[in-house]
Symmetry: C2
Subunit: 430 residues, 2 copies
């Protein structure tokens, strides 16, 4: 007799609908690859009567998705509702408690409750899989857990959000201001109508927290993380960066040094010749630096129904093959809290843009403020005046502590010759 596993899909939005149809149409090839039949037992969503451009039989409709967690015929629940709380949370907790395998694309849920969920999954010897929660179709989680399992990771970084990468790329390529680029992204479907979490770095932060836990064998740390978005980047900054041989990218970075882990999400200037500077549009790329393998890069589509389905099916095949694994590489008991540190003592070179009144003595005052705070200047460019009264000064500094820059900025802000809020963007070696 052929082995069969019964699947319930919960959530039939953009992703859910695509996944449901893909699974329906690819049952045979998935059976061939896994030796187990992926049988769609139920689907559940907010409304059955909603107009859909694919057939959906009442026979497989489940009105209350939570019932799936108690149905003894159900083996696997695929959660595509989204959100860290509410139904998604209830469904996933109940499912794992009732020994159902869980596959989810819900990064907010995993970043917030992943530790608890993995504990329950391990206890009940079921899978808790979330490849689709980080970087869409890029198989980064599987690569950390399996392909690179031998390695001692010391840094994981990359472009983890397609929307913000599209906006920054388009500001660069099409010489647009931030607002216009964002509005284009919305028109093209690359940004949601409420793009807040993509733009303010929260989406990257969720993904980074998950990757950090996987990379450093730690629990998820939601507290000690620097998160800055892209909305303060002006066209002039992109332009200045280009002139200096840099591109501006929103990066997520987790690194471990002397057993201290730093998590940070912020825009950064990166050398235009570097590989990651070429990753444009909605693409995602993750760089893993580890021993003994060295530097590994994975690049691909970071969002959208197709790429997300690719990851969901990969998780599904893993479950169908019977490959039970610890959700976060190590068993719950062996994971560490990790010594997380904030960014204050981390040293950076930075790009600093100061729009100032064009009068004597200012440069001397600025350099004095910097010297007082132990920030030394590597390069200084006074750009042509914005208008007759003001000038724009761009400074590339040598490395100094993050906290020193905070002091520099807070002092400069108070100066009456400063006409706009000073812009500071870290420079990252990648």
């Amino acid at each position: 007799m052929k082995k069969k596993m019964n699947i319930v899909i919960v959530g039939l939005g953009n992703i859910g609908s695509y996944f449901y149809n893909y699974l329906r149409k690819n049952k045979k090839i998935i059976f061939n690859k896994t030796n187990t039949i992926p049988n769609i037992l139920f689907v559940s969503s907010r409304s059955f009567v909603k107009k859909r451009n694919f057939p959906l039989s009442k026979k497989i409709w489940l009105k209350d998705c939570l019932l799936a967690t108690k149905n003894k015929n159900v083996d696997i629940i695929i959660e595509l509702i989204g959100g860290a709380e509410g139904t998604a949370k209830k469904l996933v907790f109940e499912a794992l408690k009732n020994k159902k395998h869980i596959i989810t694309a819900n990064k907010a849920l995993v970043a917030k409750h992943g530790d608890q969920l993995s504990k329950i999954a391990e206890k009940n010897k079921v899978n808790f899989e979330f490849e689709a929660a980080v970087c869409g179709g890029v198989p980064i989680i599987r690569s950390i857990k399996e392909g690179l399992v031998a390695n001692n990771i010391n840094k994981i970084s990359g472009i983890l959000n397609g929307t913000s990468n599209y906006i920054l790329s388009s500001m660069d390529n099409d010489k647009l201001e931030y607002k216009d680029s964002l509005s284009n992204a919305k028109k093209l479907g690359y940004a949601e109508s409420n793009p807040a979490s993509d733009i303010n770095g929260e989406d990257v932060a969720s993904k980074l927290k998950i990757l950090t836990a996987l990379a450093f064998n730690s629990f998820i740390n939601n507290k000690i993380i620097t998160v800055e978005g892209i909305k303060n980047i002006d066209q002039i900054d992109i332009n200045n960066a280009n002139q200096l041989g840099y591109k501006i990218k929103l990066l997520g970075v987790a690194e471990s040094r002397k057993n201290k882990i730093i998590q940070r999400v912020h825009p950064a200037l990166i050398k235009e010749k570097s590989y990651i500077a070429k990753v444009g549009g909605v693409l995602n790329a993750v760089i893993v630096e580890s021993n003994p393998v060295g530097k590994t890069v994975l690049q691909g589509e970071g969002a959208g129904p197709g790429p997300t389905t690719s990851s969901l099916i990969s998780d599904l095949c893993s479950v169908l093959r019977g490959n039970v694994k610890f959700p976060f590489v190590l068993p719950y008991k062996k994971r560490k809290f990790g010594y997380f540190e904030n960014i204050d003592n981390k040293k950076f070179s930075v790009y600093l843009r100061l729009d100032v009144k064009d009068r004597h003595g200012i440069l001397s005052d600025i350099t004095k403020v910097m010297a007082t705070n132990k920030v030394s200047i590597k390069r200084l460019i006074q750009n042509p005046t914005i208008n007759k009264k003001n000038a724009s000064i761009v400074i590339i500094t040598h490395e100094a502590k993050s906290s020193s820059f905070v002091k520099v900025l807070s002092t400069l802000k108070k100066k009456n010759y400063i006409v706009n809020i000073p812009k500071i963007i870290r420079i990252e070696k990648v």
Copy 2:
């Protein structure tokens, strides 16, 4: 009681020694990640008395490695001998027949006997793993078999050999001729004393055959494949390519169109702005184009003991976790022969360099030969004369069939105004 699996390592060369020591030192973390103790039962190599810079106890020495295949305590054999025939072949066949899991880094063996070996492994329900055989530490096999398992792959291409990539990169960066670059590569340990298979494309061909079978669910095809190496690339070609906005890379490409698969290994001009043009030195990069995920790129260290050990341990963890998989994604019975086609009808634009005597009427004759064979010219540059008597003509053609270029070349070769063998390099869109 803790689960334990007994391992025999065969081959203690550069790779084997590194792997043995890595495994010894990382037993605990591997146990933590897999819940199974990786116990080194025996190691075997040509000579016990050979001087080694690490301790090796006589207690675990196995003189005749083939005995491991019949020892009922042995669970896993790691073959690091190399070569498609001889002891490596005997060992791996015998091991699988005797229900031992096999992990190997031997691309020649897998490319030649992989189909037969996978059949035996499947029948005996043991693993036959060979992540380390293709692109060192880049987890490309695992990604095709797991991370990208949902996808219908239509093209897989990339830089699959670090030695030749180093030589080409160094010809470009350091303005060296091929011979000098090769000699540097040897000095730096990036090329073996006999680098033939790295340079003539055979090494890439072995890897490509394995990837093709994995990507297109076919058996391995050793017969229908175009293989050209890099030894005919001159410094002047690299220089010309640069002037035209290209880089020259040795590519392995397998693509399926209308159910016909073409496998080819050859140097190619690729746009200097493309991602893969930036992959320099000994790095490897693989591009997978597939549905629904789109384009996925994996880049990393392609060779050396560290990266290879990363892949070997990843295979080992898979076995320790009990993750039995079909070695070539699909079961043996479901794999197809595949309709392989040679390169003749494949269309390319090409770069053509003709060193000719500098006299009247030659250009007219060359263009006539090309027109007769339905090759049209996109761009033509007559470079400054090499010496007073000769000129170098560089032509970028429009797309034409491979077979047309063969005819053009065979006609031109006979012309008495041609002073060197004409150089032709395909242009690849990547």
